[in-house]
């Protein structure tokens, strides 16, 4: 603070800075609120989707159990051999309040399904049901993945914004205000110093005048001297109450 010279010009500069900071603070606050609303939306839908996913998942696992009951142990056959992914995820971008959010979407390559003849001698229908259930679950999970990534990105963005808001609110603005106050104080101090100096000079002058008057009383009064005495009389100590140190 000390490095800022308490001048009228600097006071002006800092007043402008304060205005800018408050404007920025207001804008960032708005952004943070917008993000917060969005974030809350995402949080809610994540909570919902996750609990829905838990149900879907147990349904899917159970269909697997049913298929196993009907078709015997086929699990080991599924993970054998080479295979090509039929379902991939495409990545897109969504924009919320200036924050870029990644969005996944299901993308089917169109390759034919592996292990089509699984359960040929029994349980084939059940295995088809497993496929369907897990494909649904996967779709849901891909949606959830988008939500979750968005959630995390938003979380990060919100943190940054909040940090900025807080920095403005708690550090930058008080600092500028402090500086302004300091400058004002220093300026007032200077003013008072001038005043005291003036008073001292005046006192001295009055003494001199009294001595002069005494001397003058002995001498005849010179014209035009009453005027001077009136001006000094206006500087009365009682008029200075509005300046409080």
């Amino acid at each position: 603070m000390a490095e800022v010279p308490p001048t009228r010009m600097n006071q002006q500069v800092f007043k402008l800075k304060l205005k800018a900071a408050q404007g920025g603070h207001r804008l960032l606050k708005k952004k943070a609120d917008a993000l917060k609303v969005k974030f809350r939306d995402y949080a809610k839908s994540i909570a919902e989707t996750k609990s829905g996913m838990a149900n879907d998942a147990s349904g899917a696992y159970f269909s697997l159990t049913q298929a196993e009951y009907a078709a015997g142990n086929f699990k080991q056959k599924v993970s054998e051999g080479s295979m090509t992914a039929r379902i991939r995820v495409g990545a897109g971008v969504d924009n919320v309040a200036g924050v870029k959010l990644p969005v996944f979407s299901k993308y089917e390559t169109g390759a034919s399904a592996d292990n089509q003849s699984l359960g040929l001698v029994g349980g084939g229908k059940k295995i088809v049901a497993v496929r369907e259930k897990f494909t649904n679950l996967l779709e849901m999970l891909i949606k959830l993945a988008s939500l979750q990534t968005s959630f995390q990105t938003l979380d990060e963005a919100m943190k940054v914004t909040n940090r900025r808001v807080n920095a403005l609110e708690n550090v930058t603005i008080p600092k500028i205000e402090d500086t302004l106050a300091y400058i004002g104080r220093e300026l007032d101090e200077l003013e008072r110093e001038d005043f005291t100096r003036l008073k001292l000079v005046q006192g001295k002058k009055e003494e001199e005048q009294k001595a002069e008057a005494k001397r003058k009383a002995l001498l005849p009064i010179a014209p035009g001297k009453e005027n001077e005495a009136d001006i000094t009389a206006e500087y009365d100590a009682g008029d200075d109450t509005d300046v409080v140190f």
């Binding site: 996750k50 992914a85 897990f134 679950l137 999970l141």
Partner: protein, 115 residues
């Protein structure tokens, strides 16, 4: 180069089987995009697979069973990139527990603290 990214799966046999049936499986000479975690699978193997999946640039989403995720929680905590996204899913034997999901912890904290 194929369009789109893969979905990787780390989980028990049922989970992996289910998603393979759904068609996410991809196995080439370089390796596969899934890991079956059995009773005798070493923790180190799981960690390595997880790290490998997170560093592969053709993986978009990693599905991991919650109970497996709990075992390698320390690795998961250190992982903070957004893509590939790590998604914790329930397994057959361990029903979904929102308490243990990091994301759900955040969500609940937010929803609980915010409202």
């Amino acid at each position: 180069m194929e369009v789109g990214k893969l979905v990787a799966v780390i989980g028990d046999e049922d989970t992996v089987t289910g998603f393979l049936l759904a068609g996410v499986g991809h196995r080439t000479a370089q390796g596969s995009n899934f890991l079956v975690v059995k009773g005798d699978t070493k923790l180190q193997q799981v960690e390595e697979a997880f790290k490998a999946f997170t560093t592969r640039d053709d993986v978009g989403i990693i599905l991991i069973n919650q109970h497996v995720a709990n075992d390698i929680r320390h690795v998961l905590k250190d992982y903070n990139a957004t893509i590939p996204t790590v998604l914790e899913i329930p397994s057959k034997e361990h029903p979904y527990d929102p308490e243990q999901d990091y994301i759900m912890q955040r969500v609940n904290m937010f929803l609980g603290g915010g409202t």
